[in-house]
C-alpha cells in the first residue's frame, strides 16, 4: 500500500538573506499533494515552514530540531524551495537559523524512508561551508539513520510548477523511486542549462533500496541501518 507523506515548501523568501522568490514552488508542491496516492500528514509553506521540521533535536548550534514530530513521522517528505550544497533554506531568519543543514539532519530513526529535495545543488560536489565535506556523498551520508534515499540535484535547477505532479504520476505508474524522480527531472529541464539530477541511496547487507516503490511503501519497514554503503548517481536532465 502507498504510505504517508508531508510537504514543506517555500515560494516567497521576501528577499531574506538575499534569496529571490521561487514562485513555482507552491504549485509544484501542491501538484504532488493532489497527485500522490496515500495519506498527506502535513503540508506547510512560506511563513509556516521551518527548518526544525527536518532537523534532529539536540544537534547543531541551533539545536531546536523537531523531526520526530514532523519529517520522521511520514514515509516521504517533499521539499520545494531554495537548496544549496549544505542544505535547504526554509524561510526567514528568526526561526532557528532558517537552514536545514546536512550536519543537523538525521532521518529514518523514525519513519522517514525517502527525502526529496526539489531545489538546487544539494547533491553537488562543492563547498558547503560550516566544516561540512565538499564531497556530496560524504556530506549527506550522515543523515541516513534509517533513511533509504535522498533525491535531488547535483547542479542548479529551474523553479518549475509541475515536477511534483509528474513525480507523483510516475510513482503511481509503479516506477521505482529513483526512476520516477529522474523522469520528472528530465521532463522539466531543458538541455541548455546542463542541469543534473542526483540520488543518494543507502544499502545494507540485508536491505537493497534500488527498487523501492511508492505503491509498496508500507512494506519497506526494514531499514538499511546500519548501512554498509552508499551509492550516489548523477546524470544529465
Amino acid at each position: 500500500m502507498p504510505g504517508t507523506f508531508g510537504l514543506i515548501w517555500v515560494a516567497e523568501y521576501k528577499g531574506t538573506l538575499g534569496l529571490f522568490d521561487v514562485p513555482n514552488c507552491a504549485p509544484n508542491a501542491q501538484g504532488l499533494s493532489k497527485g500522490l496516492s496515500g495519506t498527506e500528514k502535513f503540508n506547510v509553506g512560506n511563513d509556516d515552514a521551518q527548518d526544525i521540521y527536518i532537523e534532529q533535536h539536540g544537534i547543531g548550534v541551533a539545536s531546536a530540531g523537531k523531526d520526530a514530530q514532523w519529517a520522521d513521522t511520514v514515509d516521504l517528505v517533499f521539499f520545494s524551495g531554495h537548496g544549496a550544497p549544505g542544505g535547504m533554506a526554509v524561510r526567514v531568519a528568526g526561526k532557528d537559523d532558517s537552514y536545514a543543514k546536512a550536519s543537523e539532519i538525521r532521518l529514518g530513526d523514525g519513519q522517514l524512508k525517502w527525502l526529496v529535495v526539489d531545489g538546487c545543488e544539494v547533491l553537488q560536489h562543492g563547498s558547503a561551508g560550516g566544516g561540512m565535506p565538499d564531497n556530496a556523498l560524504a556530506r549527506w551520508r550522515v543523515i541516513f539513520t534509517g533513511l533509504r534515499q535522498l533525491l535531488g540535484f547535483a547542479t542548479e535547477c529551474h523553479d518549475v510548477a509541475d515536477r511534483g505532479s509528474l513525480f507523483a504520476q510516475h510513482l503511481g505508474a509503479k516506477l521505482t523511486m529513483r526512476e520516477a524522480w529522474i523522469k520528472a527531472c528530465m521532463e522539466t529541464e531543458g538541455h541548455h542549462a546542463n542541469v543534473r539530477y542526483a540520488y543518494l541511496r543507502a544499502k545494507s547487507d540485508a536491505v537493497d533500496t534500488a527498487n523501492d516503490k511508492w505503491d509498496t511503501a508500507t512494506l519497506h519497514s526494514d531499514k538499511p541501518s546500519p548501512a554498509s554503503g552508499f551509492v550516489l548517481g548523477t546524470g544529465i536532465c
Binding site: Y13, G15, L17, G18, L19, F20, D21, V22, H82, G83, A84, P85, G86, G87, A89, D97, Y99, K101, C120, E121, H125, G126, S127, A128, G129, G130, G131, N135, A136, L137, A138, R141, E156, H158, D159, D162, L166, Q169, A173, K174, E179, M186, E187, T188, G190, H191, H192, A193, R196, A210, P226, S228, G229, F230, V231, L232, G233, T234, G235, I236
Partner: protein, 288 residues
C-alpha cells in the same frame, strides 16, 4: 548590464534580428480546435511504430498525458500532447557498479546515435550538443569516498529553427549508451527519448531589442523583494524558441530571450551555507 554579457554575446548584441517567425505546431492542442481523438490517433501510431522498432508489445496503458507500457525490463511512452517518445531499457539504464561497466567511447556513441536517429526518422534532432556521463560514486559509512565513475554516456541533440536554438524541456533528443558486454567497442543503446513537436512556419513578428529583454529580466517579479544592494549580474542572454515539456499542451513556438542572471549573495549573509546564485528568466521577444 555586465561586461560579460557584451563579451559573450557580442554578435547577438550588435546584430540582433529584427523579426522572427512564429512556428505553429502541425498538430496543436485540442484547445486550438484539434480534437483530442486526433492527437490520440497520432500517439497510437507513434507508439506502434516505436514498439515494433524496440520489440515491445503493441498494447499499452492509457495515462493522463501519455500511452505507456512497461515491465521489469523495458518501458515505452508516447505522449498525447506532443510528438514525443521515450524508450528505456530498465535493466541497463541505471548501472551502479563501476567495476562492471566500462564507459563507452564518446565518438563511437555519437556515430551510433546519429545512425539510430536516421534509422528512426528523427530528423529534427540534427544539432549535436555533445555527450554527458551518468556518474556513480560509492562510499562506506565513513572514510574516503571514491571519485565519480562514468558508467554510461548520454548523447544529446537539439534543434535550431532559422539558426535560433529551440530550448526548454520539450525540445531535446537524448540517446544513452553503455558498453556492450558481448561486443566490446559497439555501444549498446539503453535509452532514447525524443521530445518534440512538428512545426510549420507562421507569420513573422517584430522583436524587442536584447537590451530591452535584459531590462525586463532584471525587473522580473521574483527579484522585487531583494534589497537594492544585492548585486545582479547578467551572465548570458540569447534569442531562443522555448518549448514546454512533452506532457504540456501548446500551440506554437514563440521567440523568447533566455537571460541567465547571477544574484550575488554568496558570502554576504554571514551564514555558512552558500546558496544558489543564478537563475534563468525567459522574456517574450515579441514586440507587443
Amino acid at each position: 548590464m555586465s561586461s560579460s554579457l557584451m563579451d559573450s554575446n557580442r554578435s547577438m548584441m550588435e546584430l540582433p534580428p529584427h523579426v522572427s517567425p512564429v512556428w505553429r505546431f502541425v498538430h496543436p492542442s485540442s484547445a486550438d480546435g484539434v480534437p483530442a481523438s486526433v492527437r490520440r490517433r497520432r500517439a497510437v501510431s507513434r507508439y506502434e511504430h516505436f514498439a515494433q522498432e524496440f520489440g515491445i508489445p503493441l498494447h499499452f496503458e492509457e495515462g493522463v498525458d501519455r500511452l505507456m507500457w512497461l515491465d521489469d525490463e523495458r518501458s515505452l511512452e508516447s505522449y498525447l500532447p506532443t510528438d514525443s517518445i521515450w524508450w528505456t531499457d530498465r535493466l541497463r539504464r541505471f548501472p551502479e557498479d563501476p567495476g562492471l561497466f566500462t564507459p563507452p567511447n564518446p565518438a563511437a556513441c555519437l556515430d551510433r546515435a546519429a545512425a539510430i536517429l536516421q534509422e528512426l526518422g528523427l530528423a529534427h534532432a540534427e544539432h549535436e550538443l555533445g555527450t554527458d556521463g551518468i556518474d556513480i560514486s560509492l562510499g562506506a559509512t565513513s572514510g574516503p569516498v571514491g571519485e565519480p565513475v562514468q558508467t554510461a554516456l548520454t548523447c544529446r541533440f537539439g534543434t535550431e529553427l532559422d539558426g535560433i536554438p529551440v530550448i526548454g524541456p520539450g525540445a531535446k533528443t537524448y540517446l544513452t549508451f553503455v558498453e556492450n558486454a558481448d561486443d566490446l567497442g559497439v555501444p549498446q543503446l539503453v535509452e532514447l527519448l525524443s521530445f518534440w513537436r512538428q512545426v510549420e512556419r507562421g507569420e513573422e513578428i517584430p522583436l524587442i531589442a536584447p537590451e530591452t529583454a535584459v531590462a525586463k529580466a532584471l525587473g522580473d517579479l521574483r527579484f522585487h523583494d531583494l534589497d537594492a544592494s544585492v548585486p545582479r549580474d547578467v551572465l548570458r542572454a540569447m534569442l531562443t524558441y522555448y518549448a514546454p515539456g512533452p506532457h504540456r499542451l501548446a500551440s506554437e513556438l514563440k521567440p523568447k530571450y533566455a537571460v541567465q542572471i547571477r544574484v550575488g549573495i554568496a558570502g554576504e549573509t554571514g551564514n555558512s551555507i552558500a546558496l544558489p546564485r543564478t537563475t534563468w528568466v525567459y522574456v517574450d521577444a515579441a514586440e507587443s
